[in-house]
Symmetry: C2
Subunit: 293 residues, 2 copies
């Protein structure tokens, strides 16, 4: 059994990007600049955005955090988005989700210029991905694909089962795994809340991607011997015994499932760190595209 070590791999990718940034600096060119917009004070969002900003600094990117108060109106947020679209120094930016309930998320996502949409959430980019065109791939599924690529996990002709049909993980990874390419060319089954007898389906799977957010959902009796297990679930379980008051766990019953798996991602330290690395990679790509314009 091999652990798909997202922490180690993401550090490696970040080093590669840092080397690229160093050579950009040497040539006296503009370094990549990522901005993040955060509205309100959601705990998990603060952690994610903080981690993205720190990663930028560490690898030599310029970064800007626009932290807006919870009571920001939709119009005010759209004005910030429009300014970021127009700012020639910003290569790419993200709007951290979820947004407060009084703001229409869809409207904001549609306002992000596709060329700066390093999250790959704009329909113009999502559609290109589904239609096999060059574009920004959303960071989490991109991270999974990069992990499979670098660990040389065979996907062609394999039966991959994706659990969860979210816009940011389940739907895009189901598309990417079934596209032509390497990794890719898998036969993909997409399961979700309305799926009947999910165990019968996962037991047939060569590869399982679980993106449900239900701790320990995937048990050993749902997995066949030798399966590849990708755990995208990140749930904070309250735990008064710990200093920060919670611990992080995934969708997979790791202890038991890892006995049967050929490859498995841990949580934390699996898909999570890969997501940030791929966001940085998308920003580097955005800069290359813009400097070509």
């Amino acid at each position: 059994m091999t652990i798909l070590d997202g922490k180690k791999l993401s550090n490696q990718i970040k080093e590669e990007i840092a080397a690229e940034v160093a050579s950009i600096k040497e040539r006296g060119e503009k370094v990549p600049h990522l901005a993040a917009v955060l509205v309100g004070n959601d705990g998990a969002s603060l952690t994610y955005v903080g981690s993205k900003v720190r990663s930028c600094e560490r690898i030599g990117f310029k970064s800007t955090l626009k932290h807006l108060p919870e009571e920001t109106t939709e119009d005010e947020l759209l004005t910030v988005v429009s300014q970021l679209n127009d700012d020639p120094d910003i290569d790419g930016y993200i709007v951290q989700l979820p947004l407060p309930k009084h703001i229409d998320e869809e409207k904001v996502l549609l306002a992000v210029h596709p060329d700066k949409d390093v999250d790959g959430f704009h329909p113009a980019n999502f559609g290109k991905m589904a239609l096999d065109m060059e574009t920004f791939i959303p960071a989490t599924p991109y991270g999974i694909m990069e992990m499979l690529r670098r660990y040389e996990v065979e996907t062609e002709g394999k039966h991959a089962v994706v659990i969860g049909r979210s816009h940011i993980v389940g739907r895009p990874i189901s598309i990417l795994l079934s596209r032509k390419g390497k990794p890719g060319n898998a036969t993909v089954t997409l399961c979700h809340s309305r799926t009947k007898d999910i165990k019968a389906i996962t037991r047939e799977a060569d590869i399982i991607v679980s993106a449900l957010g239900i701790p320990h959902f995937l048990k050993a009796d749902m997995v066949k011997d030798g399966a590849v297990i990708i755990d995208v679930g990140i749930t904070r379980v309250p735990d008064p015994g710990r200093e920060r008051g919670y611990y992080i766990t995934g969708d997979v019953d790791f202890k038991a499932v890892s006995q049967k798996a050929s490859y498995i991602t841990p949580v934390p330290g699996g898909v999570g760190p890969m997501t940030i690395a791929m966001l940085l990679k998308n920003t580097l790509l955005a800069r290359e595209r813009h400097s070509g314009r």
Copy 2:
């Protein structure tokens, strides 16, 4: 066993649209206007485009056919596309595929204004579909969904197997069947040329959508009793005994498979006629959106 009668259903939908057009005329408003661009003289393309134009006339739409010679350059075609984008009288238009080899199909599709893209092939529209937003649904998968809706075929929680991952049928129908909604909420497996042991997968399916283009690919022993069979294959098989020199057949061994199916589409007279009806419906929708602008 029930025949999913696309011919009858499409006539019904066309009558509904014709009634809508009549009331538009009564109100003295502009009738929907669909344009089609055809480059060259491919036999099947001529047939399809001719059929679309005739359907427009029959239901009271205005239609325009831009038939360009085989040797049209990419630039010339892009100029025509740009004119159609700018023409306020045109509500929607299609560029009939395939295009001659010297023209970059992707470049042309990207040039079609998304608001006039009644084929739903532009990535901005395709992405919206995948992300559950309002948009134009590509006509063939839209026709399949409409057929399932009107025949009240249950899809929720069912296992649907889609064979073929083309941009115009397999990929979009796999997304639509697994989206939230009615029809929808199916567990969907997408199979393609790299799938191993396809029979083991189709035998488990409650619903099979075959969009391969291989005559009589789907045999009775690949289908379980009571399955719903949607045949999207349209192949012209040469036959010197017939006046026009060929006959049309689907992917399904209809005679044998229909003995086991609960619902089945014939070829011809199944999905084919639905495609044209849904293109007209998209054009009506485009007109409504434009008149609201």
